[in-house]
Amino acid sequence: MRPSASGRRFSTASLSRPLSRHHVFFSTLAGYAFAKLRFRGNKGLFIFVIATTAVPTQLGVVPLFIVMSDLGWTGTLGAVIVPSLVTAFGVFWMTQYLSQALPDELVEAGRVDGATMFQTFWYIGFPAARPAAAMLALFTFIATWTNFFWPFIVLNPSDPTLPVALARLQANYFVDYSLVLTGVLLATLPLLVLFIFAGRQLVAGIMQGAVKG
């Protein structure tokens, strides 16, 4: 039996969009705290965040799978969404941007006007973070769209994401290459369209990240 590629696209799409939205919100929130708020342990905790990026996904994949199957989440999109709701990369990225782009005076002015901490974030911090947030959303979207290893392990073959479905097209004794190529084209097309509109920002994002990092 050949799994068809149609219908699988929606798993990937319904994954990529909300995931990048939540990822951006939580990352910006943490980045704002690290960049603009004074609290005990600020520096130490931020270094800890950076240190976590050195831990490879593979290291945790076995117990993560055990946890997910204990929770009964294997085969559901939750198993793919939850682990990347907020990442060290996102927090680092937003912290770097906000510490440069948002003047301290603006935050203080908001506080003097009597805004609560969250209001200051929502009305001052978040709007200021918008350019970097857009970039982060873009990167998250691409990363989620192309991610293979974890979804391949944790999702059911009957409800996969696009890369997993694509991989299965080839996993037969008689491979229909016209089908494979069509699948490849369909899977790549949405990101190509995105790239045409946002490629310029993507280039700028990678180059800015490099200079700041």
Partner: protein
């Protein structure tokens, strides 16, 4: 910007005291609240699995039956006793070298070209980034077709020029070159952009004074660009190391008939081996967890070696810091 003002109405002292307390709490605890999602999630999907991997690696563990008896370091001993493990370690190293070294050299060259006064800058920059957005699975499906032994594009090309066909899917080195090619296809342009950003941060007067002193382009490149690029180079090399040692998509899908990694483990990498042991073949989570820890230590060790080497290569004028 918010327009809310301080309450001006007279209030009872008690209430003021209470709202002040609330405000103090707000200031004190909000930062922790804002960063807590990351730490909570890291505790659940990062730190806990990390420690749990250590725990699982010391036990017998079955995907269905769950935890078995405590076996100490038997899982590690088992892994070290497997011929497949040593092949996977070797393959991971060779594929890593075959991809990382040419990738970074070519990326530096592309960056150097992009750094000159090109027309249509954005076009070229977008062009080198294009492979990055194609999903690795799709890249692998296409490339393994091109590298197909009988009717593949590359072997047909070789035959056209009267050369012998290469056994891309059977021999060790050719198959690893094919896989490294896929990795390079995706990451060279991306790294070139990062290096380009590093190059543009180099003060231009350094080049001018070097030209006045009679340094040619090659001399300027090796004596100014490379040393000045050191921090960026270290960053690129470290990320290439972490990523390169973990590669999975390409070797897993290079040839899907039979056991992942090739019939005689020609391109079995450590991560594919981890997958085979944990899920594809035996379903031994204890063994898989031990492999995960070994992989982690390998990455850390290579990362440290890389930093030391990079420091040495570009240390002549290492005063430049960002």
């Amino acid at each position: 910007m918010t327009t809310s003002t301080l309450p001006s109405k007279p209030r009872s002292p008690r209430r003021i005291a209470f709202s002040q307390t609330l405000g103090r709490w707000d200031i004190k605890f909000s930062p922790y609240l804002y960063i807590s999602p990351f730490f909570l999630l890291f505790a659940i999907v990062g730190l806990f699995p990390l420690l749990y991997t250590g725990y699982v690696s010391l036990h017998e563990w079955d995907p269905i039956g769950g935890q078995g008896k405590f076996v100490g370091f038997d899982n590690f001993a088992w892994v070290f006793g497997q011929r497949q493990f040593w092949l996977a370690l070797r393959n991971t190293m060779t594929i890593f070298l075959l991809s990382a070294v040419p990738q970074i050299i070519v990326a530096i060259l592309i960056a150097a070209v992009l750094d000159t006064n090109l027309r249509a800058k954005t076009f070229w920059r977008m062009g080198v980034l294009l492979p990055y957005i194609v999903m690795p699975v799709a890249v692998t499906l296409i490339f393994s077709q091109m590298f197909s032994q009988d009717y593949g594009f590359i072997n047909n090309l070789l035959a056209h020029f009267g050369m012998a066909k290469i056994a891309w899917h059977t021999d060790v080195l050719p198959s690893q070159i094919a896989i490294a090619t896929m990795v390079n296809f995706r990451w060279t342009g991306y790294n070139a952009l990062i290096l380009l950003a590093g190059m543009q941060a180099i003060p231009r007067d350094l080049y001018e004074s070097a030209s006045l002193d009679g340094a040619g382009p090659a001399r300027r490149f090796f004596s100014i660009t490379i040393p000045q690029l050191r921090p960026t180079l270290i960053f690129v090399i470290i990320t290439a190391t972490i990523g390169g040692l973990q590669i999975f998509d390409e070797p897993r899908l290079f040839d899907t008939g039979g056991l992942p990694g090739g019939a005689s483990q020609q391109w079995l990498t450590l991560t594919v081996y981890l997958y085979n042991v944990g899920w594809f073949q035996s379903g031994k989570f204890g063994h898989a967890a031990a492999i995960a820890w070994i992989l982690f230590l390998v990455i850390v060790a290579i990362g440290i070696v890389n930093v030391l080497i990079t420091r040495r290569i570009a240390s002549n004028e290492g005063g430049h810091k960002r």
